[in-house]
C-alpha cells in the first residue's frame, strides 16, 4: 500500500478493512461501515466485505472470489483509454487463482498491456484448503508466465521486501504499461471467518511457527535496532488503541440508515419516474421504495 502513488487505484476481495486504513480512509468511516451506520464509507449498505473509498482510488472490497479481477482489468483499461499513467493494484487470495476469472483477466491484461499488478496474498489457505491441495501449480506466481506476464514471489511478512517489489512493479505498470503478478507469502493465524476455529485442518504448532515471523514483531525489532526505545514503541501501540477507541465511539454515535432510504444509490437520479409506472398492482417491495439516488430521496 505504501508503494501506491496517490493517483493509483486499488481493488480487493472481502478482506477490505486493512487496505482501506492503509489507503488513508479514516478509521471512523471504516468502523461506522462495520457498524452499519450512515457515516460508514458505504453508508451502512456494504458492511465488512464491501469497504471502499473512490475519493482515495479504492474501488471496493468484493465478496465473490475472483470477481474483482476482471473489474481490475477494466479499471486499467479505462486508465489507458484516458491516457493516464496510473496503475491498478488488485488484491486476491491464493484461493482465487483457480477461478476462470483469474485466467481470463491475466490474459486480457497481458494481451492489452494493461497497467495492473495482481497482488496474490498467499496466506497458505483458502478456508480449510491448503494451497497444495487446491493448486496443481502451487508456485502461484509461475502461472503469470502462461500469459507472458512477469511473476514473482516475495516474503509478504517482510515490510522492506514488500515495498521494494510493489514499488518496482507498480512503476513498470505506470510507465511501461505492463501488468505483473506479485505473490506475497504470509499466513492466516485465525480461522477463515467467525464460524471457523481454524484448527480442523492444521496444528497449533504450525500457527505458532508462523507467528514467530510476524511482520509487526519483526518491524518492531527493526525499529528498536534503529534506536527507538520500548517506551516510544509502546506509545505507537497506545496511539493505535486510542484511534480504534475513537473510531468505535464515532461509529456508535453515527445514526442508523433510515428505512425509507432502502433503495439509496441503486439507480441514478431520474429513475424514480421510470419505476413509477411499475407500481400499480406490484407485489410488496418496490411500492415503498424511492429509486433515485441522493440521501434525501
Amino acid at each position: 500500500m505504501h508503494a501506491l502513488a496517490e493517483e493509483d487505484l486499488l481493488i480487493t476481495g472481502y478482506r477490505s478493512h486493512g487496505f482501506a486504513l492503509a489507503r488513508g480512509v479514516p478509521p471512523e468511516a471504516v468502523m461506522a461501515e462495520l457498524f452499519g451506520k450512515v457515516d460508514g464509507c458505504a453508508h451502512g449498505r456494504g458492511g465488512s466485505m464491501h469497504v471502499l473509498d473512490p475519493s482515495r482510488g479504492y474501488y471496493g472490497g468484493w465478496g465473490i472470489v475472483a470477481g474483482q479481477l476482471p473489474i481490475a482489468t477494466g479499471l486499467a483499461l479505462a486508465l489507458r483509454r484516458q491516457g493516464k499513467d496510473q496503475a491498478v493494484l488488485c488484491e486476491l487470495g491464493d484461493g482465487a487463482v483457480n477461478m476462470g476469472a483469474w485466467h481470463e483477466s491475466l490474459n486480457l491484461a497481458g494481451l492489452w498491456n494493461l497497467p495492473v499488478v495482481f497482488l496474490v496474498v498467499n496466506n497458505r489457505y483458502g478456508m480449510g484448503t491448503a494451497v497444495e491441495r487446491a493448486s496443481a501449480e502451487p508456485d502461484l506466481y509461475k502461472r503469470a508466465a502462461a500469459y507472458r506476464i512477469h511473476g514473482e514471489r516475495v516474503d509478504g511478512d517482510d515490510l522492506d521486501t514488500m515495498i521494494e517489489a510493489a514499488d518496482r512493479l507498480l512503476t513498470i505498470a505506470r510507465t511501461e504499461h505492463r501488468p505483473a503478478v506479485l505473490e506475497a507469502i504470509t499466513y492466516r493465524y485465525r480461522g477463515h471467518s467467525v464460524a471457523d476455529a481454524g484448527l480442523a485442518y492444521r496444528t497449533k504448532d504450525e500457527i505458532a511457527e508462523h507467528q514467530k515471523a510476524d511482520p509487526i514483531t519483526r518491524e518492531r525489532a527493526k525499529l528498536r535496532d534503529a534506536g527507538l526505545t520500548d517506551d516510544q514503541l509502546d506509545a505507537i501501540d497506545a496511539h493505535a488503541d486510542e484511534r480504534v477507541a475513537a473510531a468505535v465511539q464515532a461509529a456508535l454515535d453515527s445514526p442508523e440508515p433510515s428505512v425509507d432510504r432502502l433503495a439509496y444509490g441503486m439507480h441514478a437520479l431520474g429513475s424514480a419516474e421510470q419505476f413509477a409506472r411499475m407500481r400499480p398492482g406490484s407485489p410488496f417491495g418496490e411500492e415503498a421504495l424511492t429509486f433515485d439516488a441522493g440521501l434525501g430521496a
Binding site: 465488512s48 484448503t129 442508523e256 440508515p257 410488496f284 418496490e286 421504495l289
Partner: protein
C-alpha cells in the same frame, strides 16, 4: 410421500443431519454416487452437512475441490454423462452464478439437445438464504431463475423429512436436479424416516397445514414463516389458513395449489427472493388462469424488497420478507387488514 415401514421408524434430527443421512444412505447403496465441492472433506462442509463422510467413504468419493465452481460443476456434468452419480455441493446459491453456464447452457440442455441419446443424472445441492448481514452478494434466493429453465429439476425442501426424501430422490433421478437447501432451516428439527428406501417424489407439493379461509403458497424458508403466520392468525384473528409447500419448483404441482385455492378462494404467495419475475409470479399466473372463477380477491404476493440486500441490520430486516408483512398481506387479502372496508 412414500410409506414408512413401521419397523424402521423415525428419528428426530435436524435438517443438515437429514441431508447427511440421505447422502450416506445413497453412497452406501450406490457406488456411483460421489460428493464433490469446496470444503466438503477435511473441513466437513462449510455448513457441516458432510461431517463424517470423508472418514467413511474416503477422499475418492468425498472430494475437496479448489474454488473453481464452473470447473467442478462442469466436471459433474461430464461424469454424469458417463453414468456416474455426482453430487456437487456449492457453498451457497450465490456462488452457483459463476457456474451458471454449465448449469443452464450445458447440464439442462443435454437430454433434449442430443435427442435423448445421453443423460445427465447429476445433483447440485446448495443453500440459499439471508439474514446474517452478509450483504448483497451473499444473501440471494433466485430460485426462480433456475426453475424457469426447462431441462432442470429444482426442489426446495422446507423441513428435515423432505430434505432427506428429496435429496435421495434427486440422487436417484435420471436428470440434473438442483436441490436448494436453506441456511436458516439447517438447524430445524423434525421426525425423519429411517427407512433407506424412503424417498419424497419430485414434483409433488404438500399441504403443510390444512385450513379453509385462505391459502398461503410457499417454498423453502418461506414455508417455515408461513406455518408460523398461520398459527398466529388462528390464535389472534380466528383465521384458518392452509399452507401449500411447493417442495418442487420444476416440475410444479399446479394441481395441489389449485385444489387448495378452489377450497379457500383466496391466496397469498410468498417467497424469500424478489417477487418480480420470481416464483410467486409464476404461481400467481397459474392461479389466475386455473382459478379465475374461484377467486374472491386478487392473488397477493410477498417477497424481498427489490433492492440488493443492504448490510445494516435495520435495512436488512426492512428488506426481507417477514412474518408481520406476510400476516398483513393475508389479512388484507381476507379484507381484514388495515384499510379494509
Amino acid at each position: 410421500m412414500s410409506t414408512v415401514e413401521a419397523q424402521t421408524g423415525t428419528q428426530v434430527m435436524n435438517y443438515r443431519e437429514a441431508l447427511r443421512l440421505a447422502l450416506r444412505e445413497e453412497m452406501e447403496r450406490d457406488e456411483r454416487v460421489f460428493l464433490m465441492g469446496e470444503e466438503v472433506g477435511v473441513f466437513e462442509g462449510a455448513y457441516k452437512v458432510s461431517a463424517g463422510l470423508l472418514d467413511q467413504f474416503g477422499a475418492e468419493r468425498v472430494r475437496d475441490t479448489p474454488i473453481s465452481e464452473e470447473g467442478f460443476v462442469g466436471a459433474g456434468v461430464g461424469a454424469a454423462m458417463l453414468g456416474e452419480r455426482p453430487v456437487v455441493e456449492i457453498m451457497t446459491l450465490n456462488f452457483l452464478l459463476v457456474a451458471m453456464d454449465q448449469v443452464i447452457n450445458h447440464a439442462a440442455k443435454i437430454g433434449a439437445m442430443f435427442g435423448g441419446e445421453v443423460r445427465c443424472p447429476m445433483v447440485i445441492r446448495t443453500p440459499n438464504g439471508a439474514g446474517n448481514q452478509l450483504t448483497a452478494q451473499h444473501s440471494q434466493s433466485f430460485d426462480g431463475w433456475f426453475a424457469g429453465t426447462p431441462g432442470l429439476k429444482v426442489v426446495t425442501p422446507a423441513n428435515p423429512t423432505d430434505a432427506k426424501g428429496l435429496l435421495k430422490a434427486a440422487i436417484r433421478d435420471e436428470d440434473p436436479v438442483l436441490v436448494i437447501e436453506n441456511l436458516p432451516i439447517y438447524k430445524e428439527k423434525g421426525e425423519v424416516p429411517l427407512d433407506p428406501e424412503f424417498v419424497t417424489p419430485i414434483g409433488l407439493a404438500a399441504v403443510a397445514r390444512e385450513g379453509s379461509d385462505i391459502t398461503i403458497v410457499s417454498h423453502s424458508f418461506a414455508t417455515v414463516r408461513a406455518l408460523h403466520v398461520a398459527e398466529r392468525l388462528a390464535e389472534e384473528h380466528d383465521v384458518s389458513a392452509e399452507v401449500v409447500d411447493l417442495r418442487s419448483l420444476r416440475p410444479l404441482d399446479v394441481e395441489t395449489i389449485t385444489k387448495s385455492v378452489a377450497k379457500t378462494n383466496r391466496v397469498v404467495c410468498v417467497e424469500e427472493g424478489w417477487a418480480s419475475y420470481g416464483v410467486t409470479a409464476e404461481i400467481a399466473a397459474r392461479i389466475g388462469k386455473a382459478c379465475f372463477d374461484d377467486l374472491d380477491a386478487p392473488v397477493e404476493r410477498v417477497g424481498m424488497a427489490e433492492v440488493p440486500l443492504p448490510y445494516a441490520k435495520g435495512l436488512e430486516l426492512a428488506a426481507m420478507p417477514n412474518e408481520d408483512r406476510l400476516a398483513a398481506a393475508v389479512l388484507a387479502t381476507l379484507g381484514m387488514g388495515p384499510g379494509a372496508a
